[in-house]
């Protein structure tokens, strides 16, 4: 009973923060619209709209009303899922973005798996052999990767691995004639659903480099955090006791040291999941992949202001929701976070 109350209290507080954040985001986007130079109705209607069309848009958006009414109208349209209309695709921005969201999520999920699969073992080895050759080289690599612009790393690797060595496709998400019927919108999943295994491996072949570039940025943070946490744990008394009872290095690291160092890594990777969606804009465009980032990039290039701001609203919302889901998952998975979050209820 008490646990249930603690859970519901945590959930309502966390949901409250999410709603507050979304409201803040919506207000910022409204501010952006108001900051745009020129006539808003003209911008929303497109450069070659007739005077009558512009007046119709002005009417529909209520642009003759006082700003506060416009703000309320804007919030109302957002609640109904109206993020504005693209002057390039002539489609509602939300419909455009929903179509490409699965593609971005696929990229982020694979990048996150790569990120953890590389950074966690590297962090363990580096901390266990502190000051050794592997530790030194991986730390230097992490510093260098962390300072590189993602889009530049993508361009260089695309050139070297795609054009010069030809080990991966240069761009796109699947080879010619490899496409499967669209069910989810995520190419790898669609290929699996269609039972098209050649197509599945083809999509994986296309996604490995973009995902690796996206993962590289975030893996340096996981690596540094895990290494620092492990170094602290490895110095503690209970590790000495574990060693004294004759445990193997592997047992000591995996069963004792690692579980006690994963907390900051879990928290960080949760925050990264959201941040990766934002960074996808830099990677998707270089590799000509579909996705919300690429959509936004094209909207910027075509001066499609409402599509850009609709994308800001959409990506911000997705990031907030991903953060919310990750926080709830962490609460369910990690007893320590659970204790800390639910325990604070008594105060």
């Amino acid at each position: 009973m008490l646990a249930f109350r603690a859970y519901s209290w945590f959930l309502s507080r966390r949901l409250g923060l999410t709603l507050l954040t979304l409201w803040g985001l919506a207000s910022l986007v409204f501010l952006m619209i108001k900051l745009m130079p020129g006539d808003e109705a003209q911008m929303a209607a497109g450069a070659d709209a007739s005077a009558a069309q512009i007046e119709a848009v002005r009417e529909r958006l209520g642009l003759d009303a006082p700003v506060i009414m416009q703000y309320l109208g804007f919030l109302g349209r957002l609640l109904r899922g109206d993020l504005g209309t693209s002057i390039v695709t002539l489609q509602p921005v939300l419909a455009d973005l929903e179509k490409v969201l699965p593609s971005t999520l696929e990229l982020v999920v694979i990048a996150m798996l790569l990120n953890l699969a590389v950074a966690i073992p590297a962090g363990i080895v580096a901390a266990y052999r502190q000051g050794g050759v592997f530790d030194t080289t991986s730390r230097i690599t992490a510093v260098m990767l962390g300072g590189m612009p993602a889009f530049w790393l993508a361009l260089v690797l695309q050139y070297v691995l795609g054009s010069v060595w030809r080990v991966v496709p240069i761009s796109g998400q699947q080879g010619y004639g490899m496409n499967s019927p669209v069910v989810t919108g995520a190419p790898t999943l669609d290929a699996l659903i269609a039972g098209n295994f050649a197509g599945f491996f083809d999509t994986l072949h296309h996604i490995v480099l973009p995902a690796a570039v996206l993962a590289a940025l975030f893996a340096t943070q996981i690596f540094r955090t895990l290494r620092a946490a492990l170094l602290g744990v490895l110095r503690s008394d209970f590790i000495m006791a574990v060693r004294a009872k004759g445990a193997t290095a592997r047992h000591m690291l995996v069963r004792h040291a690692l579980p006690n160092s994963l907390n900051p890594v879990l928290t960080l990777s949760g925050a990264q999941a959201g941040a990766m969606i934002g960074s996808a804009v830099l990677v998707e465009t270089v590799f000509a992949r579909q996705g919300i980032g690429a959509y936004m990039f094209n909207a910027v290039a075509q001066k499609d202001a409402f599509a850009v701001l609709g994308s800001v609203m959409f990506i911000g919302t997705v990031v907030c929701l991903v953060n919310l889901i990750v926080d709830i998952l962490q609460l369910l998975v990690d007893p320590r976070i659970r204790a800390a979050q639910l325990g604070s209820q008594g105060q």
């Binding site: 745009m36 000051g131 889009f151 530049w152 260089v156």
Partner: protein
């Protein structure tokens, strides 16, 4: 009255002097700053004009890093771009630090409801993807370097505000603050002359690392197209402009990206060094 000589522990005394690595990082940062300040005065005028006959020439003795699609020298454009890039980054960090300091001071000094309100706004800022919101602001104000700088300044402050407010609250618990209060110091004077100066340590530590990250974000915004516009020599814009030539003239893309990476890494390492010097317990991490 002289203070009695206190024996310093050996570790504290060994702190004097710099390691080779530290000297290397300092040299790198000073070199970058020197280039940024004096570079544009040294650059030949020819880099501002196109010379199509000499476009996309590979690196040579006359053009160390080759030439770009307009036949301009890549090396000298990097030197000129250093000023744009570093000056913008300094401006961004200064502006958002000022916003952060102001909000933190008001939150720490103000009544509880104001503190609560400001910290919830900070929560919102921390929860949103900073680069995406900055991109939105820059695009809305009209894509330009100025827009990007303003956009990054108005989205960059939350971490500073949150950290500084925490530190200021701790400083306010110190006995000397109570002492000043007893002496009847006004709230304004208490905050600006006593609490704030004793809390700014955290910003000094953060400063260099922030420059490193800002250089990266600025280059990213320019690459996306909402920051500096061609023909600006800003590094991100240079990469964006050269993007189509990567397979025929790799040096036009590799050089400006390497410049961003070196600058970002150098300032990041400087930040780490300052942090370890302030808190030697972090050494080795």
């Amino acid at each position: 009255m002289t203070a009695p000589a206190i024996a310093q522990p050996a570790t504290a005394r060994r702190k004097e002097g710099f390691s080779t690595f530290e000297i290397f990082v300092f040299t790198l940062v000073i070199a970058l700053l020197t280039i940024a300040v004096f570079g544009p005065f040294l650059a030949p005028d020819s880099i501002y004009n196109s010379d199509i006959a000499n476009s996309l020439m590979p690196p040579s003795a006359t053009n160390w890093f080759g030439t770009d699609d307009q036949g301009r020298d890549v090396f000298w454009r990097l030197i000129v771009g250093a000023q744009t890039t570093l000056l913008s980054a300094f401006l961004v960090v200064t502006l958002y630090s000022l916003i952060g300091v102001t909000l933190a001071t008001v939150a720490a000094a103000g009544p509880r409801w104001l503190d609560e309100g400001l910290m919830r706004i900070t929560d919102i800022g921390l929860a949103l993807p900073g680069m995406i919101v900055a991109l939105g602001f820059a695009a809305a104000m009209g894509a330009s370097l100025r827009s990007a700088i303003i956009a990054m300044a108005i989205t960059g402050w939350p971490i500073t505000a949150r950290m500084l407010r925490g530190i200021m609250r701790q400083t306010m618990e110190q006995p000397f603050v109570a002492g000043a209060q007893v002496l009847g110091v006004s709230k304004w004077r208490l905050m600006t002359k006593h609490v704030l100066p004793n809390s700014l340590d955290v910003l000094i530590v953060k400063w260099a690392g922030d420059i490193g990250t800002t250089v990266l974000v600025l280059a990213s915004l320019s690459f996306i197209g909402v920051g500096a516009q061609p023909p600006s020599a800003e590094w991100g814009a240079t990469i964006a402009a050269a993007r189509g030539y990567v397979s025929t003239a790799w040096w036009t893309v590799v050089a400006p990206g390497a410049a961003v990476a070196i600058t970002s890494i150098a300032f990041g390492l400087l930040g780490d060094i300052i942090q370890v010097r302030r808190d030697p317990s972090l050494r080795g991490n």
